[in-house]
């Protein structure tokens, strides 16, 4: 980061902090308000499942592909899943081409943990021949427009694309096509903290000045399935507990959007 960016970010931060003191955010939202969320499914013909999610101006496309592969030795009768994320240059002037770097890897792994730990994909129903052949589910997240809060946008896009996905039995000569067996999706809620102000669904400027980030993935009972604290700042124990309680309320509302 150049000194110019540094000054700009300091100015931006001052502005955001002054707003925060009045309990306000750049776009007039309260600290506990999400931007509008849209979910569109079934957009890409060649994908087994696909979805586009927007949260405010942030836009993420998720695609699901299935392939036949070998199971892991310790789970011979279960399918497998993998999640990858790309932050391509189309989405932001600060994104660069090349293999995924640590930001993209962290993002993909946090989304993956939410889906995996909530047992959203019923991997035990993805066995073809025990120990030999199972279905492998590939979730690919492609960020198209970066205006903050990629964690929630990617998690939501992944869940929506999975809901849209079929098992392509016919294409791969493994029986009839059928829907991907699913349980209940995880809902991810992300908070950003700057100057002791904690906001849900940080937009770009808030992401940029954030000192600490907390992502919480909840199941349909509001139980915790995955969490990640990120960035160099810290949270107090009380702040962490508070974030979880706030997330439990948001998750209920967001879950309705996925069920529509």
């Amino acid at each position: 980061m150049s000194s110019h960016d540094e000054r700009l970010s300091a100015v931006k931060k001052d502005y955001l902090v002054n707003l925060a003191k009045k309990g306000k955010r750049l776009d007039g939202r309260g600290p506990d308000e999400y931007r509008p969320i849209t979910i569109e499914k079934h957009l890409i013909k060649n994908a087994e499942g696909s979805a586009k999610v927007t949260i405010g101006n942030t836009m993420v496309m998720a695609g699901v592909k299935l392939d036949v592969g070998e199971p892991y030795p310790d789970t011979p009768e279960e399918g497998a899943m993998t999640t990858s994320a790309e932050l391509p240059p189309i989405a932001s002037p600060t994104f660069e081409t090349g293999p995924p770097r640590e930001d993209a890897i962290e993002l993909a792994r946090v989304v993956d943990r939410g889906i995996r730990e909530s047992k959203f994909i019923k991997l035990d129903q993805l066995c073809i021949t025990p120990g030999e052949e199972v279905w492998i589910v590939f979730i690919d997240l492609h960020v198209l427009d970066y205006d903050g809060n990629l964690f929630d946008a990617c998690s939501l896009a992944a869940s929506a694309a999975l809901q849209d996905a079929i098992i392509p039995g016919e294409r791969l000569g493994k029986g009839e096509n059928r829907p991907l067996p699913l349980g209940s999706p995880p809902i991810s809620c992300t908070f950003a903290k700057y100057a002791d102000f904690i906001v849900v669904d940080p937009r770009l400027e808030e992401d940029e000045v954030a000192e600490a980030r907390h992502t919480i993935a909840l199941d349909e009972n509001g139980d915790l399935r995955a969490m990640q604290k990120g960035l160099t700042g810290s949270f107090t124990v009380e702040e962490i507990k508070n974030n979880i309680k706030r997330a439990q309320i948001h998750a209920k509302n967001i879950r309705k959007l996925l069920e529509e």
């Binding site: 399935r225 995955a226 949270f235 979880i244």
Partner: protein
Amino acid sequence: MLIKDGIRMDGRKPDELRPIKIEAGVLHRAQGSCYLEWGGNKVMAAVYGPREAIPRHIQHPLKAVINARYNMVPFSVSDRKRPGPDRRSVEISKVTSEALEHVVFTGLFPRTMIDVCIEVLGAEAGTRCAGLTAAAVALADAGIPMRDLPVACAAGKIDGTVVLDLAGDEDCEGEADMPIAIAPRTEEILLMQMDGHMTYQEFEEALELALKGCREVSKLQKEALLRKYETKNEVAP
């Protein structure tokens, strides 16, 4: 069955840590170092720097960059691990760097980087906590100015019981794992990850346990640092 009559498979009570041994200043070339054993985990950490940050584009005009690299050696796990960074170690390196950066007075060393090398020589669940705990001691041993000595510990859930410091099979077959790192003086949370399934009540219980674990390990870190200087005094003429 991972827990029976309140006793775990390795004989521990739910709120008991595995045996931990910490030694500061064990390497010659590094500016600071630490060897740590935590149950079956064997971890070596070393610190180089502050030194000029290279490549130059990673330099920060106002502060030092903390560059922690968590690495598992190929023979540290039962199935050989392919050498080099995988996605898991990239993520752990990132969250560890971020946690350490919070306590280092990075503003004193603009345009530099402080390299923190964490080599997991033997692994048995909880390596990221062991690595971060060792890295903190190595940073102190290197004389890097810090506002606190970070410490990490995990709590989780096995057979429906919230327990401290998951080991071996508990990690593979347990229901939840939550590693945290704190700055012990203020008990701010510097690192927190969680996977598995916990209700909010179980989470609160696990957090309490993990904090208790951190406090215990924190004592051992400080003892290790003091011990290094005691030995030095003995050999001095």
